[in-house]
Amino acid sequence: MSATTADQARARARNKSGSLRRQHQWALWGSYTALSAFVIMFLTPPFYMLMTSLKTSAEISAEKGNPWIVQSPTINNFVELITSPSFQRYFFNSAWVTTLVVIISMSIAILAAFSLSRMGFKGSQAIATGVFLTYLVPPSLLFIPLFQIVGWLNLLDNTWVLVLLFPTLAVPFCTWIMIGYFGSIPKELDEAALIDGASYMQILFQIFIPVALPGIIAATIFAFTVGWGAFLYPLAFLYKGEQLVLTVGIVSELIRGDVFAWGKIMAACVIGALPPILIYTFLMDYYIAGLTAGATKG
């Protein structure tokens, strides 16, 4: 009697695990299908960009042939760009502006997030919410009043204007990510450090920054993306060739009237996309860990 019951129980367990396996397989198929669709959708433009950058102008303008395949690959577009003094200037401008934006934004964001999440002064909650709300204001609405301010400061058509303006976009989001990340660090950790004899600055530099490194990297990548990829503000505030950054420089240099140098434009885009791609590739795991912590524990 008991043996029969045990057999039945085992059979039930087998059926149950079989149905779980089937469900798991369906879920896997669903995930792969959806992910494949997304991968194709998002990788098509970069693929097209890379293919076009390797074509000659004649091949690009030829009406015959498959536009997705390069018939006679050339690196001329890249060579011409890299040896062009104006392109070098744009790249260099983008690089130093982005570096300064990252340094300034992260310095402000880390200090702000630490004080807002840990020092518990009156109104810190309200300020933290306010910081996030400023991020919700679209930059396209801000550039008109900012134009006035920049005019007063006599910074129009000066690359330094971007060093001043980009942190206004990067700091709120970076602070918000860091508040979330610092908030996920147990309070006992800073209390233990306080008792061990650490000052607030020592707690920040010796405990919080090393422990919150994934969050800091996530915020750094965001600040980098803001500095490197922004188009609207450079377009609105910079005009002269030597002041331009890469995003606007490509457009103003390689589009003359209705003539588009597609090969070079695409090559410039590939070169422009390389630094973010490299950074994302090496720091992706940290980036995801940082964003998740900020999202769930903030």
Partner: protein
Amino acid sequence: MAEVSLKKIVKEYEGGVQAVKGIDLDIANHEFVVLVGPSGCGKSTTLRMIAGLEEISDGEIWIGGDVVNDVPPRDRDIAMVFQNYALYPHMSVFENMAFGLKLRKFPKEEIRKRVDEAARMLDIVPLLDRKPKALSGGQRQRVAMGRAIVRNPKVFLFDEPLSNLDAKLRVQMRTEIKKVHQMVPTTTVYVTHDQVEAMTLADRVVVMNQGIIEQVGAPQELYHNPATRFVAGFIGSPAMNFLPVQVLDEGGLKIQTADGTRLAVPPQKVDRYGPHKGKRMTLGIRPEHLTETRENAKAGVQQMNALVDVVEPMGMETLVHFFVDGVAMCARVDPLTIARPGEILPLAADMNNMHLIDDQTHKVV
């Protein structure tokens, strides 16, 4: 090493909520004092005020002869062990233990010497190069203790350090803590909600309830002579039985339960309970003083019948749960005693260990 004194300490939060209501406590040099009480009784707040992690609303805290009210935690020369270990996750065990010494600019050789000494004492020498995530809960707690020990502070503070460990490890670590205190007899304030931890570790136990100190005393004193109904009920497991009774003087002092059972008060307690005759009071009697009936019972042992509700065999003893006029009671009987639910079991009540509690003041008479 130092003595610690709390003088009329108050902690009031915004909105007027008082977590600690003016407590006084003197802790002697080398003493191991345990603050025990239920959640929200103010024990952790008191400890955090001693540590300097909470501001004091009123009163004075003295450590080693100095008022430390406005002294920041790092200058109080204390070390604290937290419930969740609070180890720095990016540092190795060695670095965790050395952190406080490095901040205080100790020479490297001295740091190495102190960490090695503490690691040997706590048996964590092989773990010194590991990161906290590669340690078990018990090992982490040892490292947290090591971090406190290397500082050689005036006072050790423990905030429920064993609560995150499983039952077996908790017993083991309890012994370790006691051993460490025997080797390094630093003045210690230890907070727990576990009365067994309190009883086993403490030189003196401080029972707190709703922001006040109910009683301070040696573990045995608290157990045998509780001052209030709260202490009587909180210390001891299973908890003391409480039964509403009336004190009568009919051919000797007696107490009568609601179901009419009369139990004679032993002669040595007559003087103490005599003035309360005629009053309704509460009888307190521990489960181990309600046992199976025995031949040749000693003086003061009275018989009462219990209608058995639940029987819990524990191996070395059996717990018998029963009701007296709707009040749940528990007796500790010999495991060979036959007790079945629904049957009457005669019990021997050792009235020599009875307590009478005033229903108005909740004080033990």
